[in-house]
Subunit: 304 residues, 2 copies
């Protein structure tokens, strides 16, 4: 087999590190050390790409590159996520059951996983199923990926199967028209959709009129869509992986574009530690979103 090599664009694709950062690290830290082709362009060997991916994963957990790049291979020992873990409030019995679901994914047993989830859904009912099964399970998958016990493709499989399940459930809900019209989407560079689906299922269950637009909408398009659909609320989801510092700016910009009578909501693990914004409602949990829905209805009821 030919030795695999990557140009800088391919490394950016596969690692998520921008070209600027790759060149900067080379200059500052002396790593990576790509060879050059006949045009003087960087050529990265596969093992360095692998190492960069590992470093990126650890960085997403809160480690700093300066520390990581020097260490040889005992980084594997520094698995410990440096981000403050939310306190594990799941009762032990529940946790065991969730681990069993994770194990099914880890064994690549799609059919078994789907069956087990259907069973739980029937037992818990939609609301509890979303809050007590899907939400913590997604959290656990994220953790498993961060600490290396899940491969990327295993996370993808989990996501894909769970998306299907949620969409299927949503399709069976009656399309009631009594609630506010909620437009659900995410900003560019935020491809995670599970949070949106969870929110949609909860809101739809309460009779809200949801318009799912998928992920990664340019901000201008979001405001256009909100007007075209005569939405009452624009709801965004930010995953924990989304760069936190960009969130306030994005929300402000979107708030400026939107007509004042359209509410802007933002939820997901990504907004947990974001400062409160003028004209934007932030939700740490799905319960908060439901409370906000009730509040919205109450405000409208008294106003009219």
């Amino acid at each position: 087999m030919n030795t695999l090599s990557f140009n800088i664009a391919a490394v950016e694709r596969d690692t998520g590190l921008s070209k600027d950062v790759l060149r900067m690290w080379e200059r500052r830290y002396g790593f990576p050390t790509p060879q050059r082709d006949c045009n003087g362009e960087r050529v990265y060997p596969a093992d360095q790409v692998e190492r960069l991916r590992l470093i990126k994963r650890l960085m997403d957990q809160g480690h700093r590159p300066g520390k990581l790049i020097g260490a040889p291979a005992d980084e594997l020992a520094s698995l410990a996520p440096r981000r403050p873990r939310p306190v594990e409030s799941t009762p032990p019995a529940e946790a065991v059951e969730l681990d069993e679901l994770l194990a099914l994914i880890k064994q690549h047993n799609s059919a078994g996983y789907q069956q087990a989830m259907q069973q739980r859904l029937a037992r818990q009912g939609l609301q509890h199923f979303v809050q007590d099964t899907i939400a913590p399970l997604t959290e656990k998958v994220g953790e498993a990926w961060e600490n290396g016990s899940f491969e990327v493709f295993e996370e993808h499989l989990y996501t894909e199967l769970t998306k299907r399940l949620l969409r299927q459930v949503i399709a069976t809900l009656p399309t009631a028209g009594r609630g506010p019209r909620v437009l659900l989407t995410s900003v560019p560079d935020e491809p995670h959709v599970l949070g949106l689906l969870m929110a949609e299922s909860m809101l739809a269950l309460e009779g809200a009129d949801c318009v799912p637009l998928g992920t990664q909408m340019p901000l201008l398009e979001i405001s256009r869509a909100a007007e075209a659909h005569r939405a009452d609320i624009v709801a965004l989801s930010f995953s924990v992986a989304f760069p936190q510092r960009q969130i306030p700016g994005l929300l402000q910009q979107l708030r400026q574009m939107l007509p004042a009578n359209i509410d802007l909501w933002a939820g997901g693990r990504g907004v947990a530690r974001v400062a409160r914004q003028e004209g934007v409602q932030l939700f740490a949990t799905l319960d908060d979103a439901l409370a906000a829905l009730a509040a919205w209805r109450a405000a409208r009821a008294t106003a009219s």
Copy 2:
């Protein structure tokens, strides 16, 4: 309302034009002409961002930037896509029905669209529904977006609703284990999933054992997943929007990583004009994929 302005990263996000390209155009063509903030960084006014988005859309249709940037506003007249249009082989009666479906999306009538699609599915059966409704409809949506009669968010709505429908249908198919195990995914920078879902529904209908991994898998992960799932076939989908010139390189690279006994298939409108590759099977239509499935089974039957 405050005048909206964008920094270069925001413009990249919203237009899809890289920072390098934005700076290059400014240097070469004198457009765009961003102002500078107190740090000397570019600040783009909203109307130039709008114009850049228009230019990008026309470029995706095959126009060249040099011609577009000079023209003032009569570009609107040059709507004509310069890409060779595939001959419209849809019989007129069918075409009218498809246009009715498009109109439902254009009116943002989600419920009506879903109902109409369910009806067609029941009438045509899954195979014909996918081949004669979803495939041409997706094509038409792409065209409508290219010529500006569809907004981005309308395309998103179509995609989201159609994804749901297909996934729902796939979920109802029996999980037969007789066929080859097919791993379905797409490469990084290829977020379009409808092609994959269409392929999955057809293959699953024929009894193949599909493993859907969603989109945008790094190549190294694809090969890892293929081994972990003991896949017989890795199937990739490339949309027409994917940069054609990158495809051969990607396929070659992946082919090198994969064990020789795992087939590599690639389909979708994106591969229609890609040259044949050693060790890779390219499909222009869904029928080709079904034929390849039959061929795979025949080869295995005689071999064993």
